[in-house]
């Protein structure tokens, strides 16, 4: 994947966000009310600045579209990024569903087993240890409750 098209897409997305801010500020009232500046007064300018800057970045990138052959990310690199990004996303989904401790142990253990090519035993020990240490640290020592699920309920937490 080349760098310039990504630059164009990101600039367009940020432009869209900026336009959203401008529109919303306008809805709220971006001018001078009876008692001073309205709620949208400051964000209106912020949004406008975003839009202007992104147009410039977009045009700059457009001019380099033909000449700049810099690579944004190779297929191999993208695969490596996905190797951590996808399991991380699944891990967050897991936290949402069954609490943080079980997914943490599974995430670390499976990642070590399949990406790091460690043995099952060692992977399970490290994954379990991190989970148990964080449980003791947060739930018992610092008394900061983290998300818990069925397994923790089984033990009475």
């Amino acid at each position: 994947m080349r760098s310039v098209p990504v630059d164009l897409v990101v600039a367009a997305i940020i432009f869209f966000l900026g336009a959203l801010v401008v529109w919303e500020s306008h809805q709220l009232g971006s001018s001078w009310g009876s008692d001073g500046p309205q709620a949208g007064y400051f964000p209106f300018y912020i949004g406008s600045f975003i839009c202007v800057c992104c147009i410039v970045v977009f045009v700059q990138a457009l001019m380099q579209l033909k000449s700049d052959r810099k690579v944004f990310v190779t297929a191999g690199q993208l695969k490596k990024v996905m190797v951590i990004l996808l399991p991380s996303t699944a891990y967050v989904l897991g936290i949402q569903l069954i609490g943080i401790y079980v997914p943490s142990a599974l995430f670390i253990g499976l990642f070590m087993r399949f990406v790091g090519k460690y043995g099952w035993l060692r992977s399970a020990v490290v994954g379990g240890a991190v989970s148990i240490i964080s449980f003791v640290l947060f739930e018992i020592w610092f008394k900061i409750p983290l998300p818990k699920g069925p397994l923790e309920r089984l033990f009475g937490f």
Binding site: V21, G36, V57, S88, I108, I144
Partner: protein, 501 residues
């Protein structure tokens, strides 16, 4: 003399057994954070911040600032031994530090790096001790227009000192301001930019952004680069330390120069990273061994490390005195102060004497503790780095997730962390700077209310930002900084034209 008395009182606050223990704990955690890829000063402090909510503010800031010193020290270890900068500010340390390690002089390079870090920090703390009360009492006279012009100067400096595309810098910064505006408007009570999502009522929390952008984003980048750590071993024994200390006084001129560069770049929000590069560059130009730089010169390690640590320390000066942090990590510390119910700014020196002077005293003690810890425990820290990445990477993601959750006990924040991680990855690769974005997110509300109050005073007339010499010169400086890329380009062209004719 007043400062000396206050400082002595500060030492009595900081020197309780509990605080000293927290100091060593903080330094050790900080060095580990500095050594590991994906955990930096800013998000390390962000993740550990919730743990300090139950401590007294003084103990909490002592531990957190020590984590920060530790991270500053730790960056050098990976640079010298593995040629991988653990932190952005130690990139310049690799230039001469790694060649020294290749020649088997790793111990000398590390001793030089740690000692000059210490010297840089010490000079910055001395400056802090005597300058901060002055700045604070001066700033007591500030009204909203003055504060807004200081904010303006802070943000415009990013454009002036940044090396990237100025439009991308401004876009990233404004995105931060826009995110800060999300939620309930503090003046009118209206909902802004929530688009009907009740979860967005309280807005984006900057700690979540920091953890995502710097933590998860950094992990994605490290994975892409396919990091494999293969480094040199370091032996540090008292003999090497003493021999290196004997050599160091030779570089006194470099040290002084680097301290000045560091302190200056830390107060204006340039930060430690540009300070270290600038100091290295200047040392190479001025030194009589300049042509040998890059081949393993001790001086090439002294210059960037002194400046980075001086800048990192003095970044706390505007944070404490004006409430305006000079670096992302200082911004996170500022967020901590707000959570503990302390309003950073000039009044802090009047109302919270124990806290301020305890913090200043802990800066002296923390750096001494830091020097002891790093000099004695280098092999241990290097061993941590040899833990393979497939173990480190998921563990760091887990730590980040816990950190993001504990900010507000909110599951949405953990999802946002992943989103911010991807944003951080994209922005890093496309040269959108993250530091101004984070600073804008932290300062957005204060900057906006300063702006609105100024507008109320002047009834909407922008002239208020030029209404007296103080606010006028601050705004003027800000505008110069904002247009600096344009000005320097024009000057360069003029000079070129003059040379041709």
């Amino acid at each position: 003399m007043e400062e000396i008395n206050a400082l002595l009182h500060g030492f009595s606050v900081a020197l309780t057994p509990q605080n000293v223990m927290l100091m060593f704990l903080g330094i050790t955690l900080g060095v580990i954070i500095g050594v590991l890829p994906g955990l930096g000063g800013a998000n390390g402090v962000a993740i550990l911040l919730p743990l300090t909510f139950s401590m007294s503010p003084t103990s909490a800031i002592i531990m957190l600032s020590c984590i920060y010193w530790g991270a500053l020290f730790g960056g050098a270890i990976t640079s010298v031994l593995f040629n991988i900068p653990g932190e952005p500010w130690s990139v310049a340390t690799t230039f001469d530090g790694y060649p020294m390690a290749q020649q088997g002089r790793a111990g000398e390079a590390l001793t030089g790096a740690f000692t000059s870090s210490f010297v840089g920090a010490l000079v910055a703390v001395l400056m802090f001790t005597f300058l901060a009360p002055l700045v604070a009492s001066f700033a007591l006279q500030f009204g909203p227009p003055e504060f807004f012009s200081v904010y303006l100067l802070t943000f415009c400096s990013f454009v002036g000192t940044g090396k990237g595309n100025p439009f991308k810098i401004v876009a990233a910064m404004m995105l931060g301001f826009a995110m800060a505006a999300v939620g309930i408007d503090i003046v009118t009570g209206q909902l802004r930019l929530t688009f009907g999502f009740t979860e967005l009522l309280s807005g984006f929390h900057f700690l979540v952004a920091v953890i995502g952008l710097f933590g998860v984003g950094e992990i994605l980048l490290s994975m892409e680069e396919g990091l494999s750590f293969s480094g040199h071993t370091a032996k540090i024994n008292p003999k090497i330390v003493l021999e290196t200390w004997k050599k160091l006084p030779r570089y006194w001129a470099t040290s002084i120069r680097s301290c000045i560069i560091g302190c200056w770049m830390g107060i204006i929000p340039g930060g430690a990273t540009p300070a270290s590069f600038m100091s290295y560059g200047v040392a190479r130009k001025v030194s009589k061994d300049g042509h040998k730089f890059g081949t393993g010169q001790l001086e090439g390690v002294v210059a960037p490390e002194t400046a980075a640590h001086a800048a990192g320390t003095s970044a706390l000066l505007p944070m404490i005195t004006l409430g305006i942090p000079g670096s992302p990590t200082a911004a996170v510390l500022l967020g901590g102060l707000l959570i503990w119910g302390l309003q950073p700014g000039p009044l802090l020196f009047v109302e919270q004497k124990d806290f301020v002077w305890g913090l200043i005293a802990s800066m002296y003690l923390g750096n001494i503790a830091g020097l002891i810890v790093v000099l004695t425990m280098v092999p241990l820290f290097a061993a941590i780095l040899r833990v393979p990445f497939p173990i480190i990477a998921p563990v760091i993601v887990v730590i980040c997730a816990i950190g993001a959750f504990t900010v507000k006990n909110n599951m949405l924040d953990v999802w946002l962390m992943i989103v911010f991680g991807v944003v951080g990855y994209l922005f890093k690769k496309l040269d959108y700077p993250l530091a101004p974005m984070v600073l804008a997110l932290v300062l957005g509300d204060s900057a906006e209310s300063a702006f609105r109050q100024s507008m109320l005073i002047s009834q909407g007339d922008m002239g208020v930002f030029f209404s007296n010499w103080l606010v006028g010169s601050l705004t003027g400086l800000a505008l110069i900084a904002l247009f600096w890329p344009l000005i320097s380009a024009t000057l360069g062209r003029l000079r070129l034209a003059a040379r041709r004719s």
